[in-house]
Amino acid sequence: MMGKVMTMAQAIGRFVPDGCSVLMGAALESLIPFAAGHEIIRQRRRNLTLIGPISDILFDQLIGAGCASRVIAAWVGNVSAGLAHNYRRAAEANTPHRLDIEDHSNFTLSLALLAGGLGAPFIPTKTLLGTDLLPGSQSFQLSSEPDTGAPLVHVQAITPDVAILQVQRSDREGNAHCWGNLGVSEEGGLASRGVIIVAEEVVSREMILSDPNRVLLPSAKVVAVVHEPWGAHPSPVQGFYGRDHGFYEQYHLASRAKEGFEQWLKEWVLDVEDRTGYLARLPKDRLNQLKPSQRRLAAPVDYGY
């Protein structure tokens, strides 16, 4: 039986088939699994359902590459630069093909994943009442409180087939430490049927067990562990590298026209073999510039007894 540690190509090959639903960008603008997304594009996946609250330009890339038939998200755009051009072309002109869009808010997407992880059919809320996100949506049902009759929205559970989560470090079983801001990583991982952990570092079991409070989710859910340093570039990973703001700006300009995006895709995704190849295309000193200029170690935590 194969262990969980494998290459990105193997993990995507095995666990992200055509037509599946995949959670990415669970930590919003940080820890975005771009390397995984690019491998999905290289393996020419089709008919995926993309799930994530705000995944910055990753979803735009997957949509433009023709991988997605459905997106379940609260926000799809280029956070620091503006609109997502491929997302727009898909919604406005069915280019490259029709895209089914299920609109959520950050809260409702969190609630949907929480429900999934709790094994609950839905979670009630008062957000979105009166908005146009409700009518005709598969995600929401208008309901009411049993005693008072006050209006309620029932947010249906979401259980993604697979969650792809970038973390700082993991052991070989998928016991992972993740820190910074995690968004819906915990709920999302628990709601998903399987989790692919993409780690900056693969470390010993002892190191992970030294701090059980920092473990992201149970390794029983982890189907693959991929060692992929810089796997989240251009998004940041706390303690490892900052956000490459210029890269997002360049993408915004390059992807404005369909042909420009296709050229960008060829250069950064299709014509490179893997993340190592991608990193080699960056300007010479870029990675050094993104590395932390200072350490900010937390106070040690003593679990002694």
Partner: protein
């Protein structure tokens, strides 16, 4: 554009928004101008205000560096709480957050905001990014501010799509549909500030910015904009407010016109 002024309209908007933050409040802070407004308020009159970022961060001091996104590493370092997004959203739903600030592509006469679809849902003219946390802030915060560019095509009688609920069709619509939050308190724009009629919940002109006439604001509004009897010129940003804004955004990344 008024070339006599030594500040931009964006800097005016930041000052106006900052003045709306009360000391000790929990405030959902977005990116861009709201972020700068929080920094100004903290330094000026609201030292105990606390900022919430929808990704799951709570800060009682502005981040030391300019942020491009709320998940930027400088925003996490020095936060007083970094938690799951759902925990902050839960506080919002509990009624514990007094103020939020959102932007918009379109706004209408009753303060409803559209950041989703211009044109039809099925075949939009423009597909905008979506709610993010804005619809939640509009639904659940004690009150919220709408901060946006003032152009006739954006200020419509009725938005094409309600992403973030204002006062709906007016009157007691919010109570009728079951929304717990108080609704919009003001629309702060590049031309002036709009407040809301306490009865009808219609947006009315409260102040016009330096160099802008009430007429100009009305011309740039796509419905017959009522002008408050107490309408006045917006108090411009003070030297102190400007110094704080320019300290946090030295290149004017967010405050350039």
């Amino acid at each position: 554009m008024n070339q006599k002024l030594t500040y931009t309209m964006q800097e005016v908007m930041v000052a106006v928004a900052a003045r709306q933050i009360r000391d000790g409040e929990l405030v959902f802070v977005g990116m861009r101008l709201p972020l700068l407004a929080f920094a100004v308020a903290k330094r000026m009159h609201a030292p105990r205000a606390v900022g919430l970022f929808e990704c799951g961060l709570m800060r009682d001091e502005p981040a030391p560096e300019l942020l491009y996104t709320m998940s930027d590493p400088p925003n996490i370092a020095g936060a007083i709480w970094s938690t799951r997004m759902i925990n902050l959203m839960g506080m919002l739903q509990q009624g514990a957050v007094q103020l939020g600030m959102i932007g918009g592509a379109e706004v209408d006469r009753f303060g409803n905001v559209n950041t989703s679809y211009i044109g039809s849902r099925q075949r939009p003219t423009v597909k905008l990014p979506g709610s993010g946390g804005a619809a939640d802030i509009a639904s659940l915060a004690g009150r919220f501010l709408i901060i946006m560019q003032h152009e006739r095509r954006r200020f419509k009688e009725r938005v094409d799509y309600i992403t973030s609920p204002g006062f709906g069709e007016g009157g007691d619509w919010r109570r009728h549909v079951g929304l717990p939050g108080g609704g919009p308190a003001a629309i702060i724009t590049t031309l002036g500030t709009l407040s809301f009629d306490p009865e009808t919940k219609e947006a009315i002109l409260a102040s016009h910015h330096p160099g802008v006439t009430p007429d100009e604001v009305c011309r740039q509004t796509g419905w017959p904009l009522r002008v408050s009897p107490a309408v006045h010129e917006t108090a411009p940003p003070t030297d102190e407010e400007l110094a704080i804004i320019r300290h946090y955004d030295p290149k004017g990344f967010w405050t350039r016109p």
